[in-house]
């Protein structure tokens, strides 16, 4: 069975794969949003998703290490590794103490930050392309825009998880002085500068208005989020 699903959140993805395994569907492969499932005994496997340092290649010692503990590498996708373990071999948890959880989530958060920044650059390029007369590019602008929003959401969510873990470790989470500047702010500013470059061109008036509105809403969102801090 093949299922298509776009997932950006590692934790809910893990939960979903385990629910599928509970229903007798063991995930055996992944390619660009397409998950392959094979029939299994309900509850035969537990799944976990890990992030590794190298892109597209599982280090040999990592593989040996995991197999040694009874886990099987199902699929490697970029920096993500899908692992499973037979439930009969005991509980399957990858990260069992607060320190390593913080480290794990911080690594994921940083990757999301970098990727979001890259997507933003692409978004700006597409935006200019679309404005300069390739209307088809608007499709990409919206698609990439959606991805950027989803990723920024992940960064915010991961920040929350990390803050919670640090609190559990007994570390006073920095209050006012450690406040994160919301990613919406720079996005809004970028949109705003895009809009400014278009002033004086009457053909682009409508587009300019739309982008200005977007810019203002982003900046407002950014200000609200920054002032509120990361407390949800």
């Amino acid at each position: 069975m093949i299922k298509f699903s776009l997932r950006f959140d590692k934790d809910t993805e893990t939960k979903w794969l385990n629910e599928m395994a509970d229903q007798g569907y063991a995930m055996t492969g992944f390619f660009a949003g397409f998950y392959t499932f094979e029939k299994c005994e309900p509850g035969e496997y537990s799944y976990q998703i890990d992030m590794i340092e190298q892109f597209g290649q599982v280090p040999a010692d990592y593989k040996a290490f995991m197999e040694d503990t009874g886990a099987e590498i199902v699929q490697n996708w970029g920096i993500w590794v899908y692992l499973r373990k037979r439930r009969s071999e005991g509980e399957f948890q990858l990260y069992t103490d607060v320190e390593s959880m913080i480290e794990h989530y911080t690594k994921i958060r940083n990757v999301f930050k970098v990727v979001t920044a890259m997507e933003l650059v692409i978004l700006i390029v597409e935006l200019f392309g679309a404005m300069l007369g390739s209307p088809v590019l608007w499709i990409f602008v919206f698609l990439i825009g959606a991805v950027v929003l989803a990723f920024m959401n992940q960064v915010v969510k991961l920040n929350g998880i990390i803050a919670e873990l640090k609190e559990r470790r007994g570390e006073a989470v920095q209050g006012s002085n450690g406040r994160n500047v919301s990613a919406f702010l720079p996005v809004g500013l970028l949109f705003n500068s895009c809009a400014l470059t278009m002033t004086g061109n009457s053909e682009l008036e409508l587009v300019r208005i739309i982008i200005t509105i977007l810019a203002i809403s982003f900046m407002l969102l950014g200000i609200v989020q920054t002032v509120k801090g990361k407390k949800s």
Partner: protein
């Protein structure tokens, strides 16, 4: 050395488990045994900790199984032992002082 302690429980037990050469799964079992099942190390936690400790020079590779899979055995280094002993001194101090709690009761 001071900024290295206190050690986290995970690091403490990994160092202890590596007083003899041991590989990943062996460490998990040893720690589980020593703590009577209280501390069960997750594979990701242990893998990450081993990388960090090796980089710090507290543990080193003892042997690599070349024929089958690349299974590695690790052992504690002299630096690792020094860190462990200064942590031990701290723990002894804690325990000595902790006993005060019961003594002053009926003065």
């Amino acid at each position: 050395m001071d900024k290295n302690i206190p050690l986290t429980e995970v690091v403490f037990y990994i160092l202890l488990a590596l007083r003899n050469p041991n590989h990943g799964y062996g460490i998990i079992q040893e720690v589980e045994h020593l703590t009577e099942g209280r501390v069960v190390l997750g594979a990701g936690t242990l893998y990450g900790a081993i990388q960090t400790l090796e980089k710090k020079g507290w543990i080193r590779i003892y042997s690599v199984d070349t024929e089958s899979r690349k299974k590695k055995e690790y052992i504690i280094t002299e630096t690792g032992k020094e860190v462990f002993y200064s942590e031990m001194a701290r723990l002894v101090e804690l325990l000595t002082n902790a006993k005060l709690m019961g003594e002053d009761k009926n003065d």
